[in-house]
Every structure is written in structure tokens, then in C-alpha cells.
């Protein structure tokens, strides 16, 4: 197993774990992000998500990262 495989495994598990909640926030807040954009959102939010103690905190992390990304794109 190479280091690249390891990184891919980590990415896969990270995205797989967080996608349901990210997708739920996406639908609830009307962000209209597609699959690849949601994956970017999760990977960007990963360090803060690791600190989340609850669904509420994780949602707040997604909210903050989404708005930061939107601001950066302007």
C-alpha cells in the first residue's frame, strides 16, 4: 500500500462519514452544491469538524466554511 493509497483511503472515509450531514445542510440551507463541491466543503472543514462535539457544532462548522468559501470566491 503506497502513501497515495493511504491518503485516498483517508479521504474516502472522511467524505463518506460527513457527506450525509453536509448534504443535509446543503438541502436545508439551499446552497445547491453538487457532489464534488460538497467533497471540497468537507475536506476544507475537516480540521474544525474534528473538534465538533455535536451535530449542532458540525452544522455550524459547515455553515462557517461555506460562507467563507463564498466570500473568497467573490
Amino acid at each position: 500500500m503506497t502513501l497515495d493509497d493511504h491518503t485516498e483511503t483517508r479521504r474516502q472515509r472522511l467524505v463518506e462519514g460527513w457527506l450525509p450531514l453536509a448534504q443535509d445542510a446543503n438541502q436545508q440551507y439551499g446552497w445547491q452544491l453538487d457532489g464534488p463541491a460538497l467533497e471540497v466543503l468537507i475536506i476544507t472543514a475537516a480540521p474544525a469538524l474534528a473538534e465538533a462535539q455535536s451535530t449542532f457544532a458540525a452544522r455550524a462548522v459547515f455553515w462557517q466554511v461555506y460562507h467563507q468559501q463564498a466570500k473568497d470566491e467573490r
Binding site: 500500500m1 502513501l3 493509497d5 493511504h6 483511503t9 483517508r10 479521504r11 474516502q12 472515509r13 472522511l14 467524505v15 463518506e16 462519514g17 460527513w18 457527506l19 450525509p20 450531514l21 448534504q23 443535509d24 446543503n26 438541502q27 453538487d34 457532489g35 460538497l38 467533497e39 469538524l49 474534528a50 465538533a52 462535539q53 455535536s54 451535530t55 449542532f56 457544532a57 458540525a58 452544522r59
Partner: protein
Amino acid sequence: MSQPGGGGTKRSSWLTFRRRLLLVRALLRGPATSADLIAEIDAELGEQGYPEAAASALKHDFDALKGEYGCSITYDRQNRYYHLADLGELALLDLPQPCMEALAFLEASFPEGSGLPEHANIRELLERVVLLLPPARQAQHRRRRSTIRLGVGRGAGRIDSDVLTIDKHAIEERRELAFDYLSTFDAEKPRRHRVAPYGITFRPEGHGYLDATVLEVTPKGGEAIHAAIDYRLDRIVPGNAEVLPTVLPPLRPTPPNYQLRYTLVPQVARRHDIAAYFPNTVITYLDDGSAEVRATVTNLWQTRQILLRYGDACRVHEPAELVALFRNTARGLAELYA
């Protein structure tokens, strides 16, 4: 409080005033003993803190706060701490109407008695904020009922805070973790799991999960060794989770990877707004209005749970292991509803 006089009297009045404000601030953080309060004031003001007869000066400050500002400070004899029950004239926070509505929204979303740790912390915050409001605004807030509320995982079981701390510690230290776990298949007694932990996630319904690779289960069950499992945090038995000395290798054992393929009927797919629930999702909309979705997954149990939300509008074609899981579910449902 201040008396006209020389510079020394003014300075001393100001110091007394500042000390009393610091006292209120300390009590806003929570109940405290007289020794704690004196230590805190002295740490803040240094030599200008309490004089030698600190206890009587503290009592004098309490009397002044009650008499001059209408503060209500009670003393718990059993625990020997002081508690700030009402700020009186020092309730200096007032809020515009939209913020009062936001406060009501938070009250409705996180009601008293909702056991989750995060809810408990939000309750504490709300109670502090409300305490800072003048009495009339407090009464207004108590009467108000918010028409909107946030639905965040109300049905989730309580996650033990020690379990969460131990799990996070093991992940940070990259060490093996052992705990007793009561899975859906364990009717009465939990079984001991030894795992390599990698992360914690929360799902929309409010459950928290530990993402871990199974190393050993005692007594053995149906878990495949080296499978990636999402353990429900509220099903880890509190009191005996432990971080083991074994440090994990930097490379995670590869969980089996599955290529997922399912189709959704036209009623669900016709708006071309299908949600992506799995990594590497590729959606193809077909001429008949249906959609074919391909993705990569490692956790078939979780995949089944997610796809079940579509009911009979979704048909799984690959992988065969997931099709078998759905067949079992369908058989069970047929027995229930036949």
C-alpha cells in the same frame, strides 16, 4: 458611592466600585466560595485587591451590591458558595427585537431537559444571557413562544462526555481503543471491541459515530476484522472505554472498497436535483426520466441506511453484497407487513 474629597478618596471609591463589578463578573461565571472570590479579585487587582480583613470587606461588598444595585446574591450553606440569582440594576444587556426573537428561537430549539451535552451547554449560555436582561425584558422573553425552531437530532441518545473525551484522545494519540459496545445484534450483553479509531462524525438525525477499523471483538460476532465500522457513540458503554498502549501504524488498514450503482425512478429523478450522499458520486439522467447513480463506498451498512430513505423508488444493482443486504431487509419488511 463616591464621596467628594481628595484624589485619594476618589481613587479608593473607584477601586471599590471596580472590585464590586469584578465580583459580579466572577459570580456570572458561576457559584463560588468566598475564598475563590477573594483569590480571583486579588489576582485581578494585585496589591489593590482585598485588604487583610478580606472576609468582612467581601461581606461589605455583597451588602453594597444588594443595597445600591438591587442584586440578589444567595448563600448556599451546604456547599458554602455564593450564587448570583438576579443582577438588579446591573442587568445592563438590552437587545433589539430581532435579537429577542433569536433568543426565543434558541430557547425553542434547545428546551430544558433535553439531555445531550451540547444542549446542556447551550442552556447554560441562554440562562446567563437572560440573567443579564432587565426584569421587564426577562418577563417578555419568558412569555414569547418562537414559531420557528431548529430540528437537530432530537431523537439521539445521550453521548457520555467521558466516552467522547477518551475516543478523541485515542484518535489524537493514534492509539488503539477498547470499549464495551451494545450493537443492534447484541440482545442483552455488550461485547468488548478493540479498534483502531480514526474520526468522529455526526449524522443529520443527531447520532454521533466513531469511525474505526475493527481489530478484535470478544466474544466474536459477525464483524469482519479490518472492516471500517461506524460505532454509535451513545451505544459505547460508559465507564470502561480505555486508550490502549499500542500505537497504530501510520497507514490505516484498507477497508474493502465497493463500487456502488443504483437507479432512482422518474418520480424522484425528474427534477434533476438528486442529492450526492456518497464519495465520487456520478449521476446520469436517463431518457425515461430515471437516473443512474454511481459512487464509491466502504460501509455497506451505512449505505443501506441512506438508500432506504428512497423506499421503493431506489433499486440497487451493485455491489452484490449490498443487494443481499436489501434482500434481507425486503424479506423482513414483507414478513412484517404481509
